[in-house]
Amino acid sequence: MKEQLQSIKNEALGEIAKVTSLKDVNDLRVKYLGKQGALTAILRGMRDVAPEDRPVIGALVNEVRDAIEAALKAKEEAISKTLLEEKLRSEQIDITLPSIEIKTGAPNILEHVIEEVEEVFMSMGYDVVDGPEIEEDKFNFELLNIPKGHPARDAQDTFYIEDEKVLLRSQTSPVQARTMLAAGGDKPIRMICPGKTYRRDADDATHSHQFMQIEGLLVDKNISLSNLKGTFDVIAKKLFGDNVETRFRPSYYRFTEPSVETDIPCFVCKGKGCPLCKNTGWITVSGAGMVHPNVLRNCGYDPDVWTGFAFGFGAERLAMLKYGISDIRKFYQTDLRESAVFDRKEN
């Protein structure tokens, strides 16, 4: 009987090793362990075994059954695994096919630049404000130390709606006057104002009758030109990189005194001199200066107590310099093939 059991075991393990489907495994389970199975038949024959041999044979039967069951289970798992693998293999996709494009929109390039400038100035405590684009002559010129008939008006050929009274603002500087007047002459001010401005220029690659300025104003006590330089350096580093050099050059504006123009090295020639920078090696990025005492006075601030600085960037100019854009009209065309690039963060 021992031999018989051993041969059942060998035969079963041999057969189990050969089968490849779950059904076959099941058939083998029935064949060996089922009610009509070979092992069950042996157990049925136990009554013919001498009582003293029964424990030994019983133990042997159990051992054989355990071995067969373990083999069946292992085989079953192996086949299941293979089947799953086959199934997954059949579900494989071509991951190189194109995606569903999740589209987000791009900002206008000017807005992109303005948002960068806003981020820096807001972190330094500047508010972002705006004023009307249809403006009174008083705010656009007179309060800013540019009386009627003054030659400084020549540089800003203005669109008038009512002669000498109401106009399309030719600069964002009227917002300086409005902000100071609103603050009432006794509170410090820190603000920037990005906004649209208009001048009677015929549109071409470098002129636009509509353009954007980013105005800035700080009014406080003991403010110096060196503070303006420091502030300009921060924004220049943000826009043009930490290693950018900056230069202040004297200039003349009616609403600042002293006035400066702020330069950075020319991108094209790196300071050697080229047509872009008119052989100076430098490119002007903004006009600025200490707020003129007349402007402070006109806007309710006592120039003996308060001082401040103001600056103005041309958003188009910044964008043209930063991204090498040569035609100012690009900003107002919204060519989606070009603007899509700007749907991303800066470095």
Binding site: E101, L168, S224, K229, G230, E257, P258, M290, R337
Partner: protein, 787 residues
């Protein structure tokens, strides 16, 4: 234009390289836009020693030319070349206009080491048939062969082109003023020109009287010269006028311009015989006429100033002289005017007449009275010297000028603080003496007198700080940040909602556009759904930019067309812009335009095409984001330029805040959807604070129901009724199926209703009770049938 040769009369700059000097001047504040060198290098005087015909040509000559250090062979094609002639020789290395560099070479086998030039080849004459026929320039000069030809040609000058607008004033726009600027930069002294003529024993007062009957002429001087001989100006005057950008005419006219370019003071020369004995300066009469020097008849306004002979105008003051008293070839005696007129008035007149002359620009910027006098004396001197004039003694003077001396008192510390520099008293003293500003110094206080030539400087310490700072050098400035109180920067007022809307729309897939505020009248007529009256500019440049828009939608259509023409199929745009109506009422609008595929993947067959509901979803998303959930609705309406069956007004708290719809097919046949909201109106609405709401813990129950209703009945009506009848237990109601024309004139709409109770588990019976009530209410009140 400033001529450096001319400036050299007043200051020694022989040691300065012109381009480097230009950098110094620009750094100190006067912007030199361009340095123009008229010099042509490697151009010498040559003498033709021998001239024979070229063996292989019927027109070329082989010349042996003395060029100073050697005799060299040059092949020349000009018919007038011959031995003995002095000529202009461009040697190898010489670069002629058009970037044409002369090189040694061979011409038809014969060596040629340069080029004998015609004036037009040097850019000194225009190339015409006439100048071409003249051939090479035949030079009549004492200069030896080999001498620098630029000396002969007067091309040894350098000109500085200035930026007139950026300019602080006109004080650098004449040569003496410019010399003062260089003097302060280089710390040198200016030497003024002489005017030492010999007056004859006759007095101007015998020949003329001047009466001024306007307060717009505070200063008027007149002198007289006799017996001028009209001729060509001497070469140096002609060359200098040309260098400064003016055309030489004759010695007399040229002298008036020459003096203006020296002192910045425009002069006017009247032909004395044509004027008579009386000069009356007065305001013009409205409609008064005068024929000016250029032959044009001008009609004047009462705000203009005229010089008259007592009766008729003979000159528009400060702008242009009259033809009737013009200096001509027969002129003998001249009355010279040197005056100051009201700058604003001159500017208005020049701009009204569109006559911006060299004179009017200078009058318009204001003048220094000291030079008004010096200029008239200088003109007398030059007329005596170069026009054979005899100068009468005496001067006629009208003087109502308030000659206030400008004085600034300050301490060094004030200037130091303002600039952020640490200056000493000695630094300040040194800068003031460079500026040639007289000052007194008492116990730490400076009292500075501002010279009259610096009209731009006011009695402010800022003005002095600027002068000191720019000479001391801003490269000495340290970078520092202002020491101010801590504060966070915020978006003020409606700037915030603009930023929020902009960012949200971008994240929803729309691209930001910026277009022009000014549009054409035709464009402004479209999408005027509010029927607003529009602003028309009083001085537009072009008709396509003459109206201030009240909606951004017309511009967005243009952007769509632009992209469509460039094969961009999916166009998703928005623009935020201020708009204004005729009463200047500001309304910030956000316009949206969508066309094409919103979301898709072709090979997968995924394609969410833009339609009304897609754009409606964008608006709802935006309004929800802004905190207006459950406060807005879309109401069918007729809207200008939109498809009458596919458009709606957007209401918020029952106020109209915008529109949405498909663009009218007769306007644009493409399937374009647009919407516009007033951000000004949204900004003025209050919103509730954001609060946390815990999710429902008990299971919800969903029931579906479909109704057949009239095709014309809007789903919103049914939904509102369902919600009303559903009461507290009904949480939401959403359409999930719509069939049009299930029977004639009828449609079927299926709704999915979700019931919930946040306090307990729902019972089937209570939900069914509500559900049945909903059905019976909708049937009875709306004439619907359960499907």
């Amino acid at each position: 234009m400033i001529s450096l040769n001319w400036v050299k009369d007043y200051i020694d700059i022989s040691d300065q390289e012109p381009s480097e000097l230009a950098v110094k001047i620009t750094k100190a504040g006067v912007n030199i836009e361009n340095v123009v060198k008229s010099r042509i290098d490697n151009l010498v005087i040559g003498k033709v020693l021998e001239c024979v015909m070229h063996p292989d040509s019927d027109h070329l000559h082989i010349c042996q030319v003395d060029v100073g250090n050697k005799v060299t062979q040059i092949v020349c094609g000009a018919p007038n070349v011959r031995a003995g002639l002095k000529v202009l020789v461009a040697l190898p290395g010489c670069v002629l206009p058009g970037d044409f560099e002369i090189k040694a070479g061979r011409i038809r086998g014969q060596e040629s080491n340069g080029m004998i030039c015609a004036l037009y080849e040097l850019g000194l004459e225009k190339k015409t048939e006439e100048t071409y026929a003249k051939g090479i320039a035949e030079i009549d000069t004492e200069l030896e062969a080999g001498a620098d030809a630029n000396i002969y040609l007067g091309t040894d000058d350098t000109m500085y082109e200035l930026d007139v607008y950026k300019h602080r004033n006109n004080d650098c726009y004449y040569h003496i003023g410019f010399a003062y600027e260089i003097a302060s930069i280089l710390n040198r002294k200016v030497k003024l020109p002489v005017s030492n003529y010999m007056p004859i024993n006759d007095d101007v007062n015998k020949y003329a009287t001047v009466e001024v009957k306007t307060d717009k002429c505070p200063f008027y001087l007149a002198k007289m010269v006799k017996g001028v001989g009209i001729a060509q100006s001497p070469e140096f005057i002609k060359k200098r006028l040309v260098a400064a950008g003016m055309r030489p005419i004759n010695n007399v006219v040229d002298i008036s311009n020459y003096v203006m370019l020296e002192y910045g003071q425009p002069l006017h020369f009247f032909d004395k015989d044509k004027v008579g004995n009386r000069i009356l300066v007065r305001d013009a009469k409205e409609g008064e006429e005068i024929v000016t020097l250029d032959g044009n008849k001008r009609t004047l306004k009462a705000s203009d100033i005229v010089i008259t002979d007592g009766e008729k105008p003979i000159c528009i003051a400060g702008v242009m002289g009259g033809e009737n008293t013009e200096v001509d070839n027969n002129t003998k005696d001249i009355l010279i005017e040197s005056a100051i007129f009201d700058a604003v008035s001159i500017r208005y007149t020049a701009s009204n007449l569109d006559l911006r002359s060299e004179a009017s620009i200078r009058y318009g910027k204001g003048l220094n009275y000291e030079y008004t006098l010096e200029a008239i004396e200088r003109a007398c001197y030059l007329l005596e010297k170069y026009a054979g004039a005899k100068v009468l003694k005496g001067i006629i003077k009208h003087d109502k000028l308030g000659k206030k001396v400008k004085v600034v008192k300050f301490k060094t510390a004030t200037v130091s603080t303002m600039l952020g520099l640490s200056l000493t008293d000695d630094d300040v003293k040194s800068e003031l003496s460079r500026l040639d500003f007289p000052y007194q110094y008492n116990c730490g206080e400076f009292i500075v007198t501002i010279p009259n030539r610096r009209l731009d400087i006011d009695e402010n310490v800022n003005d002095i700080a600027e002068e000191i700072g720019r000479l001391y050098g801003y490269h000495n400035l340290q970078s520092s940040l202002p020491c101010v109180t801590t504060k966070r920067g915020v978006y003020v007022g409606d700037v915030k909602i603009r930023k929020e809307v902009s960012k949200r729309l971008r994240s929803l897939g729309l691209n930001e556009s910026k277009t022009y505020t000014l549009t054409s009248e035709d464009m402004a007529k479209t999408f005027n759904y509010e029927g607003k009256k529009q602003i028309k500019l009083s001085n537009p440049m072009t008709i396509d930019k003459s109206v201030v828009r009240t909606s951004v939608l017309p511009s967005l259509i243009s952007v769509y067309e632009y992209n469509k023409a460039r094969n961009v199929k999916d166009v998703m745009l928005y623009e935020i812009s201020k708009t204004y109506d005729v009463d200047y009422v500001e309304d910030i609008k956000v316009g949206v335009l969508m066309k094409g595929c919103y979301l898709g993947n072709e090979w997968q067959g995924v394609n969410v095409k833009v339609d009304f509901y897609c754009l409606k979803g964008i608006l709802e998303n935006l309004l929800n984001y802004l905190g207006f959930k459950n406060r807005y609705s879309f109401v069918k309406a007729e809207i200008d330029t939109l498809h009458p069956g596919i458009c709606a007004k957007v209401l918020l708290d029952r106020d109209m805040v915008g529109v949405i719809g498909r663009v009218h097919p007769s306007y644009k046949k493409d399937d374009i959807y647009v919407a516009e909201l007033s951000l000004t109106k949204l900004y003025n609405k209050q919103i509730k604070p954001l609060k946390f709401k815990e999710a429902n813990k008990y299971p919800e129950m969903v029931k579906d129901v479909a109704f057949v209703v009239d095709n014309t009945l809007e789903s919103e009506v049914v939904r509102t009724q369902i919600k009303r009848s559903g009461g507290k237990l009904l949480d939401s109601c959403k359409e999930f199926d719509v069939y049009n024309n299930v029977e004639p004139g009828k449609k079927s709409i299926a709704y999915s209703l979700t019931f919930k109770d946040t306090t307990k588990t729902l019972l089937e019976e209570e939900v069914m009770a509500v559900f049945n009530k909903i059905i019976s209410d909708v049937e009875s009140k709306l004439g619907a049938k359960l499907r």
